[in-house]
Symmetry: D2
Subunit: 257 residues, 4 copies
């Protein structure tokens, strides 16, 4: 048998009378003093947020909680209709769709920002970076994540608000500047209105907070888990799933009957 890797996790451990989470005594240090949003920050960043970071992180996460009858909300409601005894599986079904099309775009945007501006790098010409990013994306026929919106025009009100909150908390730095510069540059090169959207703003703020791009999608997953529970609550009071299904089924098979 090969040499074994030792298993080690630092998230939680317990004694009969105490529970430790991320090095804090759960009952003494966290319960009653830490908010759920700040706990999410602690889980994702390995430290408690400052007051300013908390303001920015909570706003980012809140943005994504509730978008009405999205595909993932409908998946959750359909699942609840079949398995009302397993609410957790209904939330799971909804989360499964948070892929490249919706929530994944903020991961893509954060990756671009963080690869252009590694934290080790002291300074650089932001606008030149933006130009290069936009030029490369266009040349490779790739979508530029984080800009443009099919419905919120001329600007995404959430992006502007999130940037305001970041600035008010002293957390509007070079990632915000780069995201905004990318939008301006894309508008210039492509000749149409492409303001920063909500996922672009969240990608920029997550980067300002020092969150690695490969866990940024987690903010969206947490937020939507909250929103999907809201949909379950509404579906339990006023079920829509069967009606949506019956209409779709009847129309889709009407050419055969």
């Amino acid at each position: 048998m090969a040499q074994r890797k030792t298993l080690r996790s630092d998230l939680a451990w317990a004694t009969p009378d105490r529970i430790f989470v991320k090095g804090y005594d759960l009952c003494e240090d966290l319960l009653g003093s830490l908010s759920l949003g700040d706990m999410a920050f602690l889980e994702m960043m390995d430290r408690r947020p400052t007051a300013e970071e908390s303001n920015v992180f909570n706003a980012m996460a809140l943005t994504l909680v509730e978008h009405g009858l999205t595909p993932s909300a409908i998946a959750t409601r359909m699942t609840l209709a079949g398995a009302p005894e397993a609410m957790q599986a209904a939330v799971a079904a909804g989360l499964c769709g948070l892929g490249s099309v919706f929530v994944g775009s903020m991961e893509a945007a954060a990756r671009v920002l963080q690869q252009a501006l590694p934290s080790s790098q002291a300074s650089c010409d932001i606008d030149m970076q933006a130009r290069e990013i936009v030029t490369t994306h266009i040349a490779e026929k790739k979508t530029i994540s984080g800009i443009g919106h099919h419905f919120h025009k001329p600007a995404d009100p959430r992006a502007q608000k999130l940037f305001d909150i970041a600035r008010a908390n002293g957390l509007s730095g070079r990632y915000v500047a780069l995201m905004q510069s990318i939008a301006r540059e894309a508008e210039k090169q492509l000749g149409k209105s492409l303001p920063v959207n909500a996922t672009g703003a969240i990608a920029a703020l997550a980067s300002e907070l020092g969150m690695p791009w490969n866990i940024v999608r987690g903010v969206g997953v947490i937020s939507r888990a909250i929103g999907l529970v809201g949909h379950i609550r509404e579906e339990l009071k006023n079920p829509l799933a069967r009606e949506i299904k019956t209409r779709a089924e009847e129309e889709a098979s009407s050419h055969r009957r």
Copy 2:
């Protein structure tokens, strides 16, 4: 075709320049002023919490975020090992296990409490109710949810802390009293130590907040979604899944080779 039910949802809607969530203007009323925990309360309860309700709800939800390498955390890590490009599915896999054994017990406890003490009912003898509940459960050979713990002895420190927080916020009422009375009565009838555990305390506090028992499990789902993202973060930095799997696989098939 039969008469159709009209679809109606009141969670969110938007105009090109504004987004409304639960009747609030997302950018004006919520972003920057509401915390993520209070947003979860709004989604689950259809109203913003008071300061006292916020304290209690955030503490309840925080309790369940992180328990270390639970079965659901291991399911999440195993899933990430196979599909690192789909973090959302890894969280979904972990949530699927929040059923009757772990998180579901708080739903069961809340149901007992709320069915014993409907909100319409002005007063009653709490201890008599507790006695009847315990007697019935024992006669029907059913587990009494919300009491006892295999590891945290003689008491679950989280339950005591949660009850303290409820009292300090003026939210320790008859559901807390009933939960505590059930524990005392069960100890008496069964002749062993069975203090209220964390899920029992959460069930009692959720009931004090007016949360219907059939969505109480949602608090656990939200909390564990946060914790599972924490496990993803740690697994990305220090992967354990393959080592756990290799050891299990080798031992489990060693009798055949």
Copy 3:
């Protein structure tokens, strides 16, 4: 540290040049000679089926593969719309809804049959058993699983066909008789047409095959996994998810705009 349980699994193991599955050499004994349906039987029953058992099992499983735009098919399509790069998660989302309302009913029916007629029991009065089952369910206000259908009237054509196949293969025994007797008795006691439906027939046939009731739902899970891949194929060619979602979303929020 407490004494450890030894891990042991007998499903598969391998050497560098051979792979064993359920005790068979995968390449020598199974590939090219066993069909996928018979492999499913082997996984669920721990032995290869006889020709007759294979006929019955394949027919049972086939019945559940495709039902058109069911709630779980819609959940799968919605998930694919958000995460087209993770088809496996789209199937997973659809499976999550195979709970008590749809596929779970065959588990419930199989449980009733097998608890009434344990395999150890040599003989009994089938009709008396049926009468007792129906009487008890009605007294306890419980649904009798496996009978009646809201659309397939006066009889479910699948049930009749499955019973024919079982008889033609010498596998129509006392579980089939009991299921049919339950339907007759329920019709008598409740005074309406309640023929055995597809899930009732599958529950009876699974019991004839010796399949324990607590894994009967697995037949449905396997079948629907196949069907959900069919929906993914169609959704990739002719997407419906966004249209269904857009209509639902617009109607559901129209009272607010």
Copy 4:
């Protein structure tokens, strides 16, 4: 409101006394005559297989059913431990991990094969195509999917068997030739043993059957759904999940206690 797309699906429809699946009468044409594997072919390919196609498809699908305690099998078992009442969610949790690392590799290999040899193209130099594919992958530092195996050396016995079955059924054509040529070329350019593995062989056979690369992963999803039900069956009889979890948890937190 914009012009609406009409919903249309051709998978299934029903009248009160008949059910149609993919244009066939379920009871008359399919039940009792079509096997489950051939039904999967019908769902994925929109037609019934020939006898030769059936042989190849069933063998392909069978190969992936059971691999022992894989990460996805462990995820399924962990989920069952928490939610034994929701077996469907346990299978779903296991499927969530069938991503890029394991099952996804056959999608990647099929894509390479089908993009190199479009069905419209009458003839070409297979070896030249293989050389170009290998050269390009090496230059771009990309993994070549479908070749090499960490454990099955010097060759993967499943690949050889699958190729034998394809040839015996007259379905070993230019995709098989290209896959084998890629392996030879990679061995030459990289100077090490890199025979075609099981996923490479499946990708080649799926391409011979005319299956579009973007649904090839579906074969793996179906197969593993079957295998995961097998793991549920074994876990119900001989539970391993808690033991695996307890050991991992104790070791992982031992440095803190």
